[in-house]
């Protein structure tokens, strides 16, 4: 049994949160540079230039890329042969999150659903983190992290279709979602699509799909092809960067699919903005 200290997890979580807030990961940066090269609309091109400049300023001056530093979302795989000593894994992630948001001067964005009062004084700074845990083989802890902003989360949606809807139904649904969203989610976007499973499985899969590196291939050839088809359809919408009109509305479509019930076809669309702050560490 390998032991990992509680404090080590706190420190690592704190560090990735602070770093991610001002450093756009390489996959996202490259995708934005490609979009800049390919964009046909001069207005969108100009805005893309501003966003690349913003990424430069953020990393060189250690300023947050965006004022919406998000809710902290984690997908954590803990090896069956690891023991966390000194406290609970979940507490360590929350403590690291709070430290990261406080020490990095990041915005606390959690609030009560109805009073809208900032939770800062009652449960801590930008807590609780959203944590999805899984147990796997091995003696390591694998942590995937993303800062999830509200603008893109607000246009996300899910629905359980009858099986007859098929691939066509999925394509139409994603198209409708991105078309209705227009400028609001800060395009150019990454679009996560969860297909199959149960209702909540589809939703969680669509979220996890956003953690994949932009430009990476889907391991399932059928889904890889479908990603290409949907991407092409979405870029016909003409929304462009920040909705100014243009050819580069979506940087990538990522699908995660699961077997589902014979009676249903759940589909979820989770949207990530151009500020795709995500990272991955293994302890």
């Amino acid at each position: 049994m390998r032991e990992i200290a509680y404090e080590e997890i706190v420190k690592n979580v704190r560090d990735i949160i602070v770093y991610s807030a001002s450093n756009l990961p390489e996959d996202a940066l490259n995708a934005m540079k490609n979009a800049y090269e390919n964009e046909k609309s001069p207005v969108s091109k100009e805005v893309l230039k501003q966003l690349l400049e913003n990424a430069d300023i953020a990393s060189s001056e250690k300023r947050p890329l965006c004022q919406d530093t998000g809710l902290a979302v984690f997908f954590v795989k803990i090896g069956a042969d690891v023991k966390v000593v000194g406290g609970l894994l979940k507490d360590a992630i929350n403590e690291g999150t709070e430290k990261g948001y406080v020490e990095g001067y990041l915005r606390a964005s959690t609030c009560h659903p109805f009073t809208r009062a900032n939770n800062k004084d009652t449960v801590g700074y930008n807590l609780p983190a959203i944590i999805h845990l899984d147990i796997v083989e091995g003696d390591k802890i694998d942590i995937e992290y993303a800062a999830k902003g509200g603008g893109s989360e607000n246009v996300s949606r899910a629905r359980v279709f009858p099986p007859a809807a098929g691939k066509e139904g999925v394509i139409e649904y994603v198209k409708e979602c991105i078309s209705d969203a227009g400028p609001n989610p800060c395009p150019p976007l990454t679009v996560g699509v969860g297909i199959g499973g149960t209702f909540e499985k589809a939703v969680i899969s669509s979220k996890h799909a956003l953690f994949r590196d932009i430009g990476s291939k889907n391991e399932d050839p059928e889904m890889d092809e479908l990603e290409g088809v949907i991407l092409k359809e979405l870029n016909k919408l003409g929304i462009g960067t920040m909705g100014m009109g243009g050819t580069e509305t979506v940087l990538a479509v990522h699908i995660e699919s699961n077997p589902c019930h014979i009676a249903s076809l759940p589909v979820s669309v989770n949207v990530q903005c151009h500020s795709s702050r995500h990272t991955h560490i293994t302890l």
Binding site: S22, K40, S41, V43, S44, V47, Q50, L51, E53, N54, I57, A58, E61, R63, P64, L65, C66, Q67, D68, T69, Y105, L106, R107, A108, S109, R116, N118, K120, G150, G151, N154, G182, P183, N184, C186, K236, L237, G238, I239, G240, M242, G243, M244, G245, G246, T247, C273, H274, S275
Partner: protein, 185 residues
């Protein structure tokens, strides 16, 4: 077709009437910040017949909830938030003399109608460019609702703050015009 202007607040009818959807404007002077929670309070004040915490005539409101400033900085990162959440409040403020709003994303018909009727414009700033936009803000001071944290009302001094006219006083909408140009049916 797009013209670039430098404007200083407060804005007059003449200032806003010359602006067309798609024009680029560099704003300087004082602007005020407010998000949903602050808007609700501002409108509640008007309903109660009380005075607003700042002079709304000719003013610009920026929909933003900045990150906390690092020591020595006036403000942290400060890009726009999505504007539709203010749609139910903006027409009332426009009727009171508000001349400009800065945010990102679509507005509803009530807002664009009010822009036409009372001569006001809706500017888009680049969402997610918080580091870059924060640098154009030279001073920031909380003037109301401190307990709202990032949502408090702040008075900002800005220099050459870059925005694009989305909805002008003539009913044009840049999001519609831009998209129609590149949409493949």
């Amino acid at each position: 077709m797009s013209t670039t202007y430098n404007l200083t607040t407060p804005l007059s009818d003449e200032d806003v009437n010359k602006l067309k959807s798609g024009d680029i404007v560099y704003l300087s002077g004082t602007i005020f910040t407010a998000r949903d929670a602050a808007h609700k309070r501002l409108v509640d004040l008007l309903d109660a017949g009380k005075e607003l915490p700042f002079d709304i005539k000719g003013a610009i409101i920026y929909f933003v909830g900045p990150t906390p400033p690092k020591p020595g900085d006036p403000i942290g990162s400060a890009g726009p938030t999505t504007s539709y959440r203010m749609d139910s409040y903006s027409p009332r403020l426009i009727a009171e003399g508000l001349k400009g709003m800065i945010g990102k994303g679509k507005r509803n018909k009530d807002v664009t109608d009010a822009c036409q009727e009372h001569k006001a414009v809706y500017f888009g700033a680049t969402g997610g460019a918080g580091a870059l936009l924060g640098k154009q803000i030279v001073s920031a001071e909380v003037i109301a609702y401190e307990e709202l944290g990032p949502e408090a009302v702040r008075k900002l001094e800005v220099v050459d703050f870059p925005v694009t006219v989305v909805n002008d006083t003539y009913g044009a909408d840049l999001y519609k015009i831009g998209r129609a140009q590149y949409e493949v049916k």
